[in-house]
């Protein structure tokens, strides 16, 4: 039998019917639903008189719209409240499990799926959200879809999908301490560009990738979509299996042994051929900071804002000029001379326990700079929040001048009240620095949790890996 890539193995396992060309009717094992992209899908089912094909495969929660201040009062914003209440009503009507607004397990859908063992190796996972690629960290074929496909999966448990091409991004070598998964993925995006992964499923491999925790692998796969790839993947290893064991929806006993035996096969065969291969050296990777309005516009912490005049491609040059104007930055500015107004530690990219630990490590015993107007820590889920509090991380953040919030998507996209005002500059652990993403006119710099925490203390970007910073000399 010919050698296969991981994505080929996952694909073949889920084909219900092979269609003409590269299309197949693909079976969907898990479907994660939230309030923003589902109301029109449920309405479509109702209008057509259709039921959910297998409601037990669906897990729903509210994350995009929820306030992060307190869960004691109801949601004040009438449109947000309507969306959240509509989800609850739809879940009730269609027999779907929902972790509602006040459920202690509520959180960002891409945090709670793995946390609950809803996401397991070998599965297909879809959600009406582009960051569904996150779940590929478990060697699951996971991808984001639009609302029409949400309806399609609810109605049929399947999707007609075109087979993705395969790309391997191999990151070899051991990175410097404090270089995180976020720095690795920003490096990958800067190499590939925002559309370099379009049409591909990216498998991340190499020593630096398998050295990452499951949380780090989720960060990596989460942002595959920012390079254009709907799917990011990491092969199963012992860390994968250790992470999923003992979670609420993970199998137990004999069934677990059978599952583990199968899961261990979820790796690319040694001789498997990829449509495209990229090799990166982790040892030279520096902390990364975005300077523009696209995730490919990346510099290093010790670098400078680039000069558009040196870009020969006209379309790119004009894009850079527009981005710098929006960001209020001059060419050649040192990244370390960029001063911040707000700090956001959160999102489906970086709001897991390991992220909060890394940020807390930096801020412990220090205080945010007086120039910082607001510094938010928004845990990814109620369970992450509880874990962090059990470890005393909330106290570290609060004593340092951070606000400790309730879980949700929050300032990643500002659908609730957590937003940037026009002209405000933010060091953010989220995934998109698009114009207006965190608030109309807001200026976003994407960074790792450690770099965001260091920026909060210094009031500007500083190298978290530098010894001077470590000894408090910033």
């Amino acid at each position: 039998m010919s050698a296969k890539t991981l994505v080929e193995k996952l694909w073949e396992r889920h084909v219900v019917r092979q269609d003409q060309n590269d299309f197949a009717l693909l079976y969907v094992d898990r479907h994660l639903v939230y309030e923003v992209t589902s109301p029109q899908a449920f309405e479509g089912l109702r209008q057509a008189g259709r039921k959910a094909w297998r409601a037990s495969t669906v897990l729903a929660t509210c994350d995009h719209n929820v306030p992060t201040t307190s869960r004691k009062s109801d949601i004040v914003d009438a449109q947000s409240r309507l969306q959240v209440e509509t989800l609850t009503a739809n879940c009730k009507e269609f027999g779907i499990t929902e972790f509602g607004y006040r459920d202690p397990r509520q959180g960002i859908i891409h945090v709670i799926g793995p946390e609950q063992g809803m996401t397991l190796p070998g599965m297909t996972v879809v959600a009406g959200d582009s960051h569904t690629s996150t779940h590929g960290a478990f060697a699951a074929l996971a991808f984001g879809v639009g609302t029409s496909d949400v309806e399609h999966v609810l109605a049929t448990q399947c999707l007609l999908v075109k087979k993705m091409k395969s790309m391997r991004v191999c990151i070899e070598g051991t990175p410097a301490p404090d270089i995180t998964a976020k720095d690795l993925i920003l490096e990958v995006i800067s190499k590939l560009g925002t559309s370099g992964g379009t049409g591909y499923a990216i498998e991340f491999s190499g020593v630096a990738v398998h050295a990452l925790s499951m949380e780090g692998r989720m960060t990596l796969c989460n942002m595959a979509i920012e390079a254009g790839a709907r799917v990011g993947l990491v092969a199963v290893d012992q860390k994968t299996i250790d992470y999923v064991k003992g979670r609420p929806f993970t199998p137990t006993d004999d069934m677990l042994s059978t599952a583990v035996a199968y899961w261990r096969t979820l790796v690319s065969d040694p001789d498997a051929r990829f449509d495209k291969e990229i090799l990166l050296d982790a040892t030279s990777i520096r902390p990364r900071v975005t300077w523009g309005t696209s995730p490919e516009m990346v510099s290093t912490i010790d670098g400078r804002v680039p000069d558009p005049a040196l870009e020969s491609d006209r379309v790119k040059r004009e894009g850079m000029i527009r981005a710098l104007e929006y960001m209020g930055l001059a060419p050649n500015t040192l990244i370390s001379d960029i001063h911040l107004d707000k700090i956001f530690i959160g999102s489906c990219t970086n709001a897991r326990i390991e992220d909060l630990r890394a940020a807390a490590e930096v801020v412990r015993g220090r205080h945010i700079a007086s120039s910082i107007k607001q510094a938010l820590v928004v845990p990814g889920s109620g369970l992450v929040k509880a874990q962090a509090e059990a470890e005393g991380l909330d106290t570290i953040f609060l004593e340092a001048g951070f606000e400790w919030r309730e879980p949700g998507c929050s300032m990643c996209l500002g659908m609730n009240d957590d937003r940037l005002s026009s002209g405000e500059r933010c060091a953010s652990t989220s995934n998109r620095n698009f114009e207006g993403r965190q608030g109309a006119g807001g200026r976003t710099h994407l960074v790792s949790p450690a770099t965001a925490a260091a920026a909060a203390i210094a009031g500007r970007f500083v190298d978290v890996t530098s010894l001077a910073y470590r000894s408090g000399g910033c």
């Binding site: 060309n21 079976y27 029109q40 582009s130 984001g144 879809v145 609302t147 399609h152 379009t198 599952a259």
Partner: protein, 214 residues
Amino acid sequence: MQPFSAVTSHVVPLDRSNVDTDAIIPKQFIKSIRKTGLGPYLFDEWRYLDRGSLGQDCSKRPLNAEFVLNRKSSRNAQILLARGNFGCGSSREHAVWALQDHGFRVVIAPGFADIFSSNCYKNGLLPVTLDEKAVDDLFSAIRLRDDYQLGIDLQQQCVAIPDGSKLWFSIDEFHKNCLLNGLDDIALTLQDASAIHAYELKRRQLEPWIFGMR
């Protein structure tokens, strides 16, 4: 879904690459629980000088005269021309609903984000991929003529330009068929219901834990 056949129309030249779905329809408008009525908020942050809100009457809002959609020549245009990686970012289908509600039937670009183009096909909005040189030439030609029109023929898979020449584009046969016939693909998939049941039986033997959640 409304079938798509052919469109002849003026063109709105949006000379930017990486136009993301946050820009196409900003966050406050995706709080809508309906598919309709999003047209007035299309490109809201670029199009108006104030900050809009869902449900607001946009007819009296201050327009950004610099933005291409506000030009007289853009009125009633059904074709949008843009640069590479159009529709990147969020999977929000609201972006497609807003483009359609505004009146667009076709978007031409050198490339589209995967989820966005998939959302287009589901709603009868045609994404036409042309190479960068061809798109560049179209931008140049439109700059010279305000009344520039293009004809899009899906059956023939071509874009007719005013000098009489044609640009050919490719599209997957499946998507073409769905668009031409306005097919409801859920109904199509449900024709395979017995195959889906058979698959589930087989899979239950191999991976019972997938089915044993509750």
